[in-house]
């Protein structure tokens, strides 16, 4: 693989990693508060449809983005209702919401546009377009490091930078604010938080809503940034890859960045079988690259490469009084 090909693959990796990163951070907030969420996939999907549809109807990607976030928060609230208020099974709720999203997106998109469950192709202001970072041309002229800045980092849509900035923001919120301290505590030991006079229910609902916002960004990026419009099942398991990345990252924000970049890199490689063949001298089956994030996660889960320990109160509904 020569340098310019590497730059191309890295550029594509960052694009592929963005929805994974946003969804992974979304899951981080929910699971750190003690609410398991395997419904990331469904929330991304419904947000993708809502943002794609509204952007197509209004011609404004920003209104589309808001619609996507709104739809995703709605699903988050159903998950919260089931798992916080009615103390139901969080895993089953997540599974149910994924199916609900699969069905709803096609039904609504078909009713609105009659294009077989797709939204019309977006262009111009209805889409997130590439932004050139300052001095991209000047720094791009520097050998070796220049292209990294000009080609890989620069020239993405706004949500890519939002996702990258969300990492330090999440770290700061989690480890440097009162809210973050309480959030981590409620995921480990909700009784102690309750004893301190802080509402477990309110804290968990706020976490779940943040999850909704971030999944909304991830879904909107899929439909209006990465691609030009929503297509049925367009998330294609990314919600589950994000979940895998979350475990891989041991529920930590900076690790989440590295994990999703790695998984994004694998996805980008899977798109370029010619590069793989050129580099390894033999054809690596694309199916193997597709499966690699899942295989790596199972290995991490098995505890062979450092143990991944989930938040202690995860999955258990909190009962204040018996």
């Amino acid at each position: 693989m020569d340098y310019s090909t590497l730059i191309q693959v890295l550029d594509s990796s960052l694009r592929m990693a963005t929805p994974l990163l946003l969804a992974c951070l979304a899951g981080l907030f929910s699971e750190r508060s003690g609410i398991f969420d395997i419904g990331l996939e469904g929330k991304m999907l419904i947000a993708g449809m809502a943002s794609g549809a509204v952007a197509a109807l209004t011609g404004s990607v920003w209104i589309g983005l808001l619609a996507g976030i709104g739809a995703s928060i709605l699903f988050s609230l159903i998950h919260g209702l089931a798992s916080i208020t009615f103390r139901g099974n969080q895993l089953i709720s997540g599974v149910a919401l994924n199916f609900l999203a699969s069905g709803m997106t096609v039904l609504i998109a078909q009713a609105l546009f009659h294009q077989g469950g797709r939204t019309p192709p977006l262009s111009g202001a209805a889409r997130f377009n590439a932004i050139d970072l300052p001095l991209a041309d000047t720094i791009g002229a520097v050998p070796l490091i220049g292209p990294l800045y000009a080609e890989v980092l620069s020239g993405h849509s706004a949500l890519v930078y939002v996702a990258l900035l969300a990492v330090p923001a999440t770290w700061w919120a989690l480890y440097r604010t009162r809210f973050g301290l309480r959030l981590r505590a409620v995921g480990e030991n909700p009784e102690s938080v309750d004893t301190a006079g802080i509402s477990v229910i309110r804290l968990r609902y706020s976490a779940v809503i943040i999850t909704g916002v971030l999944c909304g960004l991830a879904g909107a990026y899929m439909a209006t940034g990465l691609q030009a419009g929503f297509g049925r099942e367009m998330t294609a398991g990314r919600g589950y890859i994000a979940l895998a990345a979350l475990i891989f990252a041991k529920w930590r924000p900076w690790y989440a960045l590295w994990a999703t970049l790695l998984f994004g890199f694998l996805q980008a490689l899977a798109l370029r079988p010619d590069v793989i063949e050129g580099t390894f001298g033999m054809a690596v089956p694309v199916s193997f690259l597709d499966a690699l994030p899942y295989i790596l996660t199972v290995i991490v889960l098995a505890g062979f490469v450092g143990k991944a320990i989930p938040p202690r109160a995860g999955g258990q509904p909190y009962v204040k009084e018996r």
């Binding site: 149910a96 199916f99 096609v106 078909q110």
Partner: protein, 363 residues
Amino acid sequence: MEKLPAWADIVLVPLISLLLAAVISAIVILAIGQDPWEAVSVMVQGALGSSYGWGYTLYYTTSFIFTGLAVTVAFHASQFNIGGEGQAQLGGLGVALVCLSVPWPHWALALPAAMIGAALFGAAWAAIPAYLQAKRGSHIVITTIMFNYIASALIVYLLVEVLRPAGQMDPASARFPAGAALPTLHDIPGLNLIFTRKVPANITFFVAVAACFGVWLLLWRTRLGYEIRAFGKSERAAIYAGISPVKVIMVSMLISGGLAGLMAINNVMGEAERLLQNSAEGAGFIGIAVALMGRNHPFGVFLAALLFGFLYQGGAEMGLWTSIPIELRLLLQGLVILFTGALDNMVRMMLGVFFRAKAKGAA
């Protein structure tokens, strides 16, 4: 929250959940500008109105019985097996290898062999997540999800690179020998008076009914079943009573994976007669809804599988004859899972209000 009468918990909770799911679906159909009554009549007519429709309904029912039983057995050991989809796909691989290995002279020989292949491959695919849960404490829900994706990647690879006959374009295995073809309900003397046309429902249906009975025997009439249920109710009490958690998790998940794998004799051997990509077509996931709706009892699973067989076949007809997309099935499936599995306490609370009012009226 007071306890409901046992019959209300078993019968009313799933029925009210189904009613809520149906009402919400009707509202969605209205919202997209279609007629819910038309949808219902097309579904009933298409799935139950003719023996041809029944032939499809029972075909889907057969698959859903297997995957529903798979989720049920694991649930009784408090394991949530979401991996039915992958296990069913691997079961299909087992069936294909058995059917293609020998030029089978008669289906009566091929069926037991294929059943062993299907169950072994399904169980093997459940074995790794089970082992990781039992020995290393890795969460079975996450590992079985991961194994679904690994399974589909593996099957795609095998179909494209290994099993595809030379010169064939589409990624699928070779056709099974004619001797491995299972008799459909149309081919069975007596039943062919009812099923006058060729239907996909086949002899596997009776295997599925037998499996319901077998699972009931296992769970409520054997020592192993007792150990599974005791462990599922209280892990600590079970350990105190000398029940080995590793054994219960491993055995219950192996049985669960085997049952999911067995589904493949219905769709791969009975219908497609070759192994295709994505052969399970989501039936593994429907097993979750079937088990929840059926209250984790084999008889309930049978009824719920019949209901989902109807929804599946009726939904296909609806997609064909009305402007309502076939994806309404997924919506219904999601709603049933949501109400029976996650919002069940809400349904109970609603029923509790009703029973309290009745108790007051009687006093």
